[in-house]
Amino acid sequence: MENIYLNMRRGKFLIVLFVAVALLVVPVTSANPFSDFWGRITGEASSGSTSLNITIGNSAPTIPYVQVITAKNPTEDSTTTITFNFTVTDSDGSSNINTSSGKAYFQKSVETTRSNLSCANYPAVGNSINFSCTIDMWYYDGNGAWTINVTASDINGADAENSSTTFTYNILTAMKMSPTSLSWTSVNLQDNDTGSNNDPVVINNTGNAESLGVNTTAYNLQGETTTTEYIYANNFTIGISSEGCSGTAMSNATAIAISSATLPNGNHSVNDGSTGQEQIYFCIKGVPPTISSQSYSSAAYGSWSVGVS
C-alpha cells in the first residue's frame, strides 16, 4: 500500500517535472537562441541581403582593326566622300554581333562631327564581321587631323569602341566669284564717286582655308577708239561697303589688299554676307578731265583680278 502511494507520488512528480520542463524549453527553443551562436562567436554576420547581377556567357565585342584613311583633299564647294572599313570581333561568335550597330564618327575639336550611324556589314568571317562606312566631309570642315571613332555592340548590348586612329584632311584655298565683270552705266567728266551698277562682287570661300584676305589687281583702262586716253587704275577704289567710294585706292598692275575684307571658312550657303562670304564694291572716284567720250575697257592691259590668300 505504501508502495502504491509512493509510486503515485513519483508519477505526479514526474508529470509536474515534465510540465515544468516543457514550460521552460518551449519558449526558449521557439526564440531560437542558438541561431546566431556562430555569428556571436566569430563576429561574422550569419545572414544578410545583397543583390547579384550575373551575366552568364557573354563577352563584349572588340574592334581590333580600323582601315587606314590616307590624307584627303576637300572638294571645292562640295563634299568629299570617304569610305573605310573596320572589323568587329566577338569571342562569343559572330552571330552575337549586332549587325545593325556599326557606327562611325569623324571628330575634331570645335568642328561639327561627321558621322554614319548605319554602317553596312559584310558576311561574317569566323568570329568577326567587317563593317563599311561612308562619310561625307564638307568643303568648309577644318583642315588637320580628324579622329576616326567607330563603335559597335553585341546583341546583349555590350559595346566596343575604337578611336585610336586619325586621318588628315588637307587644306583647300578656293573661291567662287560672281559677277565676273563690272559695268558702269555712264560717267560724266564732272562726276565723282560713281559706283558700279552691277556690284557687289560676291566672293565665297569654297574651301577650308581660314580667314582669307582679299586682294585686287587693277589695270589702267584704255580708250577703245582713242587708244592714247585712259582711265587710270588709281581712279578706282574698292571697299566692302556700298559704292566702295571710301575704300582702298587701286594702283596699276599692283595687287592691293582690300582693307577690312576677310573671308572666313564656313557654309556660304547661309548667304548672310559674312559666313564664308565677302562682298566688295567698286567705285570710280573721278575721271581724268582731258579724256574724250568713248568706251574704255581692260582689253588692252588684261583683266583685273580678285584674289584670296
Binding site: 583633299n73 584655298t173 565676273t180 552705266t185 575697257s297 581692260s298 580678285v306
Partner: protein, 186 residues
C-alpha cells in the same frame, strides 16, 4: 561752251558687263602652316598639289612660285582645268641645300592667276595663293625617312659578300682536308 558741256554731259565711259557665269576654283595642298613639310639637308622631294574647278567653264591658270633660297620650283607654269575637274596635279620640286641648318625653315609660296580673255569688257579674273613651310629636320624626322628602299647596288654588295664568305669557307675546308690526308701518309 555749249558744245563742250554737251560733250562732257554725254561723255560716257562705258564698261560693259557680260560676265554672268560663276567662277569657282581652288588649290588643295598637303602641307600648310601647322603641317609643314619636314626634310633634312640635301633631300629632294616632289610635293603634289591639286587644282580644282567646279565652275561652269574651263579655266586656265598661270602659276607663280617663290621660295626662300629658291629651294622650290614648278615643273609647269600654265594649267588648264576643265569644268568639274578636281584633280589637276601641280608638281612642286623642293630641293633642300646640303648646308641647310637643322631647325631652320623655308617658306614656299604659290599663286595661281586665271588667264581670262577679256575683249570688249572689263573682266574680273580669279586668283588664289597658298604657301607652306619646309622645316629642316634630322634624317629620322624627315618625311622621306624609311621611304627609300636600299639601292640595287646594296643588294648586289650583300650577295657578293655572302658568296665570298661561302667560297672562302669551301676553300678552307678543302685545304684542311688536304693537310689531314698528307699527315696520314707521312
Amino acid at each position: 561752251m555749249k558744245n563742250k558741256t554737251f560733250l562732257f554731259a554725254s561723255a560716257v565711259f562705258l564698261i560693259l558687263s557680260l560676265g554672268v557665269f560663276v567662277q569657282a576654283a581652288g588649290i588643295a595642298a598637303p602641307y600648310w602652316k601647322d603641317n609643314p613639310l619636314l626634310l633634312s639637308p640635301g633631300e629632294k622631294n616632289t610635293v603634289i598639289l591639286y587644282l580644282q574647278n567646279t565652275g561652269e567653264e574651263s579655266m586656265t591658270f598661270e602659276a607663280l612660285i617663290s621660295s626662300d633660297g629658291d629651294i622650290a620650283s614648278l615643273k609647269e607654269t600654265i594649267y588648264e582645268v576643265g569644268a568639274g575637274e578636281i584633280d589637276v596635279p601641280v608638281e612642286v620640286e623642293v630641293v633642300v641645300p646640303e648646308n641647310a641648318q637643322r631647325g631652320s625653315a623655308y617658306q614656299v609660296s604659290l599663286s595661281f592667276n586665271q588667264i581670262a580673255s577679256g575683249e570688249g569688257m572689263v573682266v574680273v579674273a580669279s586668283a588664289f595663293s597658298t604657301s607652306f613651310p619646309v622645316n629642316i629636320v634630322s634624317l629620322e624626322e624627315s618625311v622621306l625617312y624609311g621611304s627609300n628602299p636600299p639601292s640595287t647596288f646594296s643588294y648586289w654588295l650583300i650577295i657578293l659578300i655572302i658568296f665570298g664568305v661561302v667560297v672562302l669557307g669551301f676553300v678552307w675546308v678543302k685545304i684542311s682536308k688536304k693537310k689531314k690526308t698528307s699527315k696520314k701518309f707521312k
